[in-house]
Structure formats: C-alpha cells, structure tokens
Symmetry: C2
Subunit: 431 residues, 2 copies
Amino acid sequence: MDTRQKAIQAKDVSIRLAAVSGQVKNRALEEVARALETRSGEIASANREDMEKAEREHLSAPLLKRLRFDKEKTAEAVEGLRSLMALADPVGRTLSATELDDGLELFKVSCPIGVVGIVFESRPDALVQISSLCLKSGNAVLLKGGREAAATNRMLSEVIHEASAAAGIPRGWMHLLEARSDVAEMLALDGIVDLIIPRGSNAFVRYIMDHTNIPVMGHADGMCHVYVDSKADTDMAVRVVVDSKTQYVAVCNAVETVLVHRDIAPAVLPGLKEALEAKGVEIRGCEKTREIIQVKEAAELDWSTEYLDLIVSVRVVESLDEAVEHINRYGSRHTDAIVTADRQRGLRFLDLVDSADVFCNCSTRFSDGFRFGLGAEVGISTSKIHARGPVGLEGLVIYKWRLLGNGHVVADYSGEGARAFTHRPLNKVYG
Amino acid sequence: MDTRQKAIQAKDVSIRLAAVSGQVKNRALEEVARALETRSGEIASANREDMEKAEREHLSAPLLKRLRFDKEKTAEAVEGLRSLMALADPVGRTLSATELDDGLELFKVSCPIGVVGIVFESRPDALVQISSLCLKSGNAVLLKGGREAAATNRMLSEVIHEASAAAGIPRGWMHLLEARSDVAEMLALDGIVDLIIPRGSNAFVRYIMDHTNIPVMGHADGMCHVYVDSKADTDMAVRVVVDSKTQYVAVCNAVETVLVHRDIAPAVLPGLKEALEAKGVEIRGCEKTREIIQVKEAAELDWSTEYLDLIVSVRVVESLDEAVEHINRYGSRHTDAIVTADRQRGLRFLDLVDSADVFCNCSTRFSDGFRFGLGAEVGISTSKIHARGPVGLEGLVIYKWRLLGNGHVVADYSGEGARAFTHRPLNKVYG
C-alpha cells in the first residue's frame, strides 16, 4: 500500500475505532504490554540490527543511546502502558447536556479526532508511547520514525498491531510509513489526515509546520525566560534561574534569557554569576549587565537564540512592562517565569505574558505533562488554538453534538405561534 | 497603516485587551449599543450611499436586501449586543486547579486567542456581531467586509471603535481592512494573526482555507443528509425531511441528500414525493428510487452537490451501514440525521457518522448556535480540532497554564531523595 492508501484505510477504520469501548481499548493496551514482554527477544534482536548499522555509520554517542531499545526500555514502555490504562477513557464524556424543548435533548460528547499523523526522530520508544496514546483516545495513526530505527520500528509496530487486533481493535488502525518521501505525501493528505504531531528538533518541526495545510500540534522553539523582578527574593531568584538553566539543558523548557529589573540587578547579578559559573554556564550580558558583572557581550541575535546548551543571555530591564514586552517579542510562547515577592506584580506578569505556560516563583522546568499531573503527554503545543502547553490525552479528542428528538422540526419554532426553546441544562449523561 | 502594521498594532493591543475585566468589556458593549442608536442617522446615510451605488451597479434583489442596514437592522444589532452582555465572561474561567506540591499550585485558566482575522461578505450587520463577539472574548480583530458595503462598514467600525474606547478599551483593538489585496496580505501574517474566520459562500471559504497557514475556523460546504431507517415512522420521516429541505433552503444546514432504507422505501417514498413536490422541491433519484416513484435521474455528481435550492437527491440504501458509508464519503462533516424508532440503531448511527452534528429524529435545521442555546454564534465549524459544529464564545478563547510557587525547583523532584508530586485536585478558582 502507498501512503495515500494507508491513510484511506486508517480513515475507514477510525470510524469503527471511535465506537470501541474503553474496556476493549484497555484490554488491547494490556495485550500490547504482554506482547512487548513475551516478544522482547525479537525486539532486542531487531534493535541490535539497527544499533550495529548505526555504529558502522558512526552515529554520535547520544544518538546511539536514544536508538537503544533493550529490556530496560521495554520495561519502561510496559510501565507507560499500564499507567495509560489507569487513566479515564477520554472518549464518550458528556461535556454538556441541554434540553432544547420537551423531548429534544442536546449532548456535547467527546470523541476521537480521527486520523493522526505522527513524525518522530530516532527514539523507538516514542513509537510505543504515541501509538498507545492514539489507541487509548480512539484515533487511527500513521507513524513515521527515524531511518536509523527502521528494523526496531517495524518490529514494534508489528507487535502492537497484532496484539491490539487480538484484543478486538480493528486491523489497519495503525500504519508505519518508512520512506522519507512518505512524509511529504502524508503532509499533502488534507481531508484524510486530521492532525499532524511532529516530535523532534526545532528545524524538523518548523519544516513540518511550513509544509502542510493540516493542523499541526507541537512546538518548534522553546525560547523561555525568567524575569527577576525588583521585588524578588535574591536567593530564590538564583535558585530558580539555576534550576531553569541547568537541571536539564537540552530541552525546550530550559531558560535561555534571564531578564533582571535594574533596581535589583546590583544585588542579584554577582550571586547569579557565581552560581551559574559553578555549573559551567557561560553568561552573555547586555551593556548594563556588564557594568555590574564581568561577562561576555550579548548580541541582538542572542535574544532569540535557543542555546539548548550551557549558555544563558542576561538583560537588565527598566520595568516589569519592559520585561513583558521583551518576552512577547523574542519568546516562543512556550514557558516564561517571574520571580517576585509581590503577588500583584506576579499576577500582572502572568496576565500579560502571551505564553502557554506562565509561572510565578518556580522553575520553567515544571512545564511538562507528567509534572502537571496530566498522566500521559502527547507533547507541548505553542499554537493558540485547540490545546496549549503540555497536552494530555484531551488534546487527541474533540467532540460531536448529538441531538435526540422525537420528530422535532424547526418550522414549529418560527413564525406566528412559534414554540420557544427551553434551553434547560440537563444533569444527565449521554447514552 | 498597511495591513501588516494594523496587525502588529492589534497584536500589541491584544495583550492589554486580554487583561481587561468582564465588567469593562460589558460597559463597552453597552456604549457601543448606545452609540449605534444615537448615531443611527449617520449610519443609515452611509448605508444609503452603498445602496444607491449597488442599485446603479444592478446588484440582485437578495444582495440588496443583505446590504441594507436601516433602523430595523440597527435595533436588531443593539438587541444582539444586549444579549451578548448577558452572557458570562468567557475569559478568566478556571478550567482546572491542581496542587503539584505544597505551595505549588497549577491553574488552567481560559484566555483570549489573540488576534482574529474575519473576512465576511456583503452583510454589514456581520461587522457589528463579529466585532462585539471579539470584544466580549478579549480578542483584537482585523475585519474585511464586502466592497459593496464599504461606506456602511467604515461608519460602523468608527462608531464601535470610538464607543469602546470611551468605555476604556485600548484603541487599536479593531481594524478595518478595505482593499481586496489586504486579505491576501492578512492571510500571510502567520505568527501575528492567530485565527481566521471566513463567513460567506462555499467558494469564498474554500479559497481562504487554501490560501493560508493560519488556522481557519468555519465551513466550506454543508452537504447534509437525512437517513430514513427501516424502523422509521413514515409520517415522522416525511415531516423531518420536508423541514430539513424547505424550512430555509439557502443555508448550510439544509438537507441535500435523503437516504432511504430499501425495506421502507416503498412505504415512504410516495408520501415523501407528494410532500416535497407540494413545496416545489425537485427530486433526483437513484435507479431504485425511480422504480418506486417517478422522478428525475440522479447522477454521481448529485451525491456531492450542495444545491442550496429547492432540489434534493434521493438514494435507496441496503442497510444502515451503507447509509453511514455514503455520508462519511460524500458528506461534509456538518450535520446528518437519522429517522428511526429503534433507539439502538439511532445511537449506532450517531456513533458512526463522522460529522460535527449528528441528530436522531429531528430536522438538520436545528444545527445552529442560537437553537443550541449557545447565546451567540461565532459560526459553524467543520474542522476536527479546537471547536466543532455551532461555535459560541468558547471558540474564541483558549487557555494558559498559570503555576504559582514559592521558589520551587525541579531538581528537588529528581534523583535520590526526590520529592513526590501530590497532584491533588484543588477546589479553588484562580486569582
């Protein structure tokens, strides 16, 4: 089958998958978990094939590490499946119920989106995680993984497809795409594929966003800020900045620029420099910063550079409003934090910063689906519609309006002697 | 200012507008209502200018009717504003609240989307309705109306902008675009304009959807179906079909194709023909239909034609599943209904039809924000993400995650002796 045929089959199957009960979907997740365990030998051997090829091709050590799918990774994947099973079924929830008139009842009920296209880079564990999220939310899925993980991905996707089919999930709900050209084909399938979720580097995500008319959920950049307000506790400011920068450096929610109110700059910058340098962080400062501490000079480009490395830019600002303007101008609407002891100023910052995640007195690194308690993370979105910030299963569902009548017609509600709608909220669940 | 400058100003202002209280927004709506009344003479005279020009250019009678903005239209617009004021503020609602740990509280709070671009055809009342919906939901807006209504739109937009500014809404929150080329410019402003809402003909909406990377909320086609099931009450079936087709013919939620189960076709088709023909409806039938009633022949193209006219196509199907397949293949995911006395079959249809609005035993014409009790209608969406079917004010908002801590850092939650998250739901409102 070519990509288009796979997508059309996924679309057909998605209709039946949408009507599968939560019980059957959980049974399928359990079957998948068991199959991953019983077939872990086959999976490990497919992974060795990929690993050996990658070594021959001299892939870097971090890439090799991400490619590995051994028994430990299998155990983690199984654990992920079991915690996904514990979550409530996101499908079939009654979001609202309204009586429009006697015997005419309207229900807004959550349902799957349909067909989701997922493109991810090397890590094969992403395949298990993503396909299980789609299964739990009743979506058919087209998956395209990295070329390096071809054998592992093929094996994992066969295991998952077979195990889920054994539990009653209609075959054809998931398809693996293998060629690079398949991605371009998928990106052109508006009207069949309903949503694209890219997972990978900035450049990769940006490429996807720029090459499709299908809605994309994800984030390209994570240009995050911490603003140290004039009313900040300086120890807290240092602690929050150091954690935001160094707790894990190569991730989207790490801070890249620190903004410091001029009134507190002399009190906070020396300690901040010491703490950051102790962690090996290079500081690039604006002119005013460099009047207080001795650091490299920041160029205009630094304010929009996501280092993903042990580098941070520092800028002294005149006011909270200037900090907000800087963030709304240079930021990527991902995660931005203020440190202040003045609650009103904190709330004002949270009101005015136009980002998915706005934090007061805590590290930007909290921006994460698991830390937020969402149970499972689909990804982090910086778009302004549908879902924003860390996205849980609810990002993979939408709703249908279901109206149940008894022969009701609109003519009765117009013209002379028109009936009136009651629009009475119902305390009732659909079905 | 050119379109880009207007959009940038709107973006800047949108930040402040997002923080304006519901009280101030309602006061502004009241000011706008009063200004429409006190300046109704000026508005009527601007509209006369447009009307006279349109008459000289021999616009059709229906277009002239839509263009008219007289005292009656003003009164309707004022009434719309007052009912909008009565609705709850969609901004600032706490959608969830979770304690992540002692003193670390996460709130998911609704907020405006940002800058909305609206393109609408001739009716100037749409300008009042749309801009007031944006104001109530805290969004800045770029408006492009029809060329025929240029003078009316200019006057209305001046009245609204001035009156809202007098009530404390920051100037520059709304901008009128006037040249056709402005639309193309706006469609290219990804990253500044957050959402496009087109209102107009199918071809017009389709054009917008195909020419922008900005998310579009709306619907191009309304290819709606009624399926008369084998278990239908035949009188009810006729009543529902006639209303769905004829109650108002030139609208997106009118039925275009009627599907009839073969077992009930002989019982229902003759009466259906009589009732539809009595309303002046032309029937185009499939071969099996034409074995039962004498009607024109339907061609393949009829199954995907939105007539928006007194024409309906009729097809006999073998089963409920064939009806579902037909609808999911030829439909536009707008509104589809089943007539059946068998509840289980009804629910099955509602499960399997992949449309925004799925109805049982009632007319497709109920698919409408006011009939649904949403209070105000932004439009009807056939997309699969963000908002679906009739969209109320909630389609113009999204949310922010607001996290309030006390110096919390992620390092404390990892490695040895890591603190555990509590993830305890809070019964608390943000702020």
